[in-house]
């Protein structure tokens, strides 16, 4: 199972806790994980990546293992620790005031 940690507002929207666990078929990439996440929680469609372009929304980042994976190709394999479920893929919102 792949672990994905969500920011607070997406937790409340999807009515889940800090992390969700997902079955991901095939290679574990940003795209396949987000596809699985949106299939399990349709209300998250459009909130992490754009409906049409499938690009990451600008105020979000993807972290894992203390690395910023945001600018990796969405089809690159995620680190083994994430693919094996030892570590979560973190979806992180930018810090902002107001």
């Amino acid at each position: 199972m792949i672990r994905v940690a969500l920011p607070y507002h997406l937790q409340t929207l999807a009515m889940v806790g800090k992390e969700v666990s997902l079955e991901v078929a095939g290679q574990v990439t940003q795209r396949s994980v987000l596809n699985a996440l949106e299939a399990a929680y349709p209300m998250l469609r459009g909130t992490i990546r754009d409906h049409s372009t499938q690009l990451r929304r600008p105020f979000l980042r993807f972290f894992a293992l203390e690395q910023d994976l945001s600018f990796d190709s969405p089809d690159d394999p995620l680190p083994t620790e994430v693919a094996r479920g030892f570590e979560p893929l973190l979806v992180v919102g930018a810090i902002v005031g107001g």
């Binding site: 920011p7 209300m43 459009g46 909130t47 105020f59 902002v96």
Partner: protein, 371 residues
């Protein structure tokens, strides 16, 4: 005995305010969607328990929520607003072409007769329609594809379609208003559109009486006189007696004719309310005195309504979707401020009280009159 349900959208969530027909004592529910900007929420006239909400943030984009039980529970419905075809460009602030790009939903207008049908006015300006209670959205692209569309330019708040009026006597007639393109009318249920801006004069555009380019802030109509429209423009309060074909100014003795809101009394089609704001450079009331102005003559002759409103040190704004009226026997008038107050008058504006004082900045106020 009647009652009212007031739907308030704010910078940090939605609130629902309930009262009986006296409108003296209020129950406050919320925040719903805490931390999210709620530009607008509105109930279906055909089923008051059905409420649609526009919810957004810069981080997570746009959501549309729907309630079928008067706000007790919510369901996220489709948030996919895809322009029809290849959308092309409109003008950017500097006059250069800029691609149409969906940013947010400013206004949701439920059908007068079908609770599953709702219209959405979006930024960058376009009109969408859902006939399945928000499960999917289709652009009524005849508006954006009007021959003038490529010349539309945003106002300071963005290129937003913020007003949708549905003619209760002619289901094919729809009015919209766009900042800063102007007002438009469709007589074929949204397929084709024509600009209805004759008579408007705007100093901020090269040709002050151009066909489009006017920063219309709000339109209002009384259901018994659907051919009579009132407009709060960037500057000027305007009136049309022929469904927008031509307009004439009715600012009359207003102390300033800049403002955002305009609305019409529920039972007196010629009684109109505005909230004058000092200027386009200073978005607050003149001299710190919050005053609603009422005309009982359809414009030109205005009286200041001050009873119960702060008359010193008040520097709030009242945004374009933040005024409404109920249809109880004694018409209630409501407005919300950027300071977080929501005011009610249960007697057509003669006196006012604050329902709440300290909400986040109010973006929109709608009221449902319930039996």
């Amino acid at each position: 005995m009647g009652k009212v349900r007031v739907l308030v959208g704010t910078r940090k969530g939605a609130f629902i305010l309930n009262s009986d027909e006296k409108r003296e004592h209020w129950q406050v529910e919320g925040p719903h969607f805490p931390g999210w900007e709620v530009y607008h929420l509105k109930g279906s006239p055909a089923n008051p328990d059905r409420i649609y909400v526009s919810q957004s943030t810069g981080w997570f984009g746009q959501l549309i929520q729907r309630s079928d039980d008067a706000g007790k529970t919510w369901t996220a419905v489709s948030n996919e607003f895809k322009y029809d075809g290849v959308p092309g460009t409109h003008q950017w602030y500097d006059g250069t072409p800029h691609p149409w790009d969906f940013k947010r939903v400013w206004h949701l207008e439920p059908s007068l007769t079908d609770p599953d049908t709702v219209y959405a006015g979006i930024e960058d300006a376009a009109l969408f329609k859902s006939t399945d209670a928000g499960a999917s959205w289709t652009e009524l692209s005849g508006l954006r594809e009007h021959t003038t569309g490529s010349t539309w330019a945003p106002g300071a708040g963005g290129l937003c379609l913020h007003t949708i009026l549905l003619d209760p006597t002619d289901h094919n007639r729809i009015y919209t208003a766009i900042s800063a393109a102007g007002a438009f009318r469709s007589d074929d249920a949204g397929k084709t559109w024509k600009p209805i801006n004759k008579g408007l004069v705007s100093g901020h555009i090269p040709d002050p009486d151009a066909e489009v380019g006017h920063c219309v802030h709000r339109l209002a109509m009384h259901p018994s006189q659907p051919n009579v429209l009132f407009m709060q423009k960037h500057w000027d309060v305007m009136r049309s007696d022929n469904a927008g074909d031509t307009w004439h100014e009715v600012s009359g003795n207003l102390p300033t004719d800049f403002g955002f809101v305009v609305d019409v009394h529920a039972h007196e089609p010629n009684t109109v309310f505005v909230v004058p704001i000092k200027s386009d450079s200073e978005h607050f009331p003149i001299d710190g005195q919050l005053r609603v102005y009422r005309s009982k003559t359809g414009g030109n002759d205005w009286e200041a309504l001050t009873n119960g409103l702060p008359q010193k040190d008040c520097y709030v704004n009242v945004l374009r979707d933040a005024m409404c009226v109920d249809s109880l026997e004694s018409c209630g008038v409501y407005f919300g401020t950027t300071g977080g107050q929501v005011y009610v008058s249960a007697n057509g504006g003669d006196s006012w009280q604050a329902i709440v004082h300290d909400l986040p900045a109010v973006l929109s106020v709608e009221v449902q009159t319930l039996s």
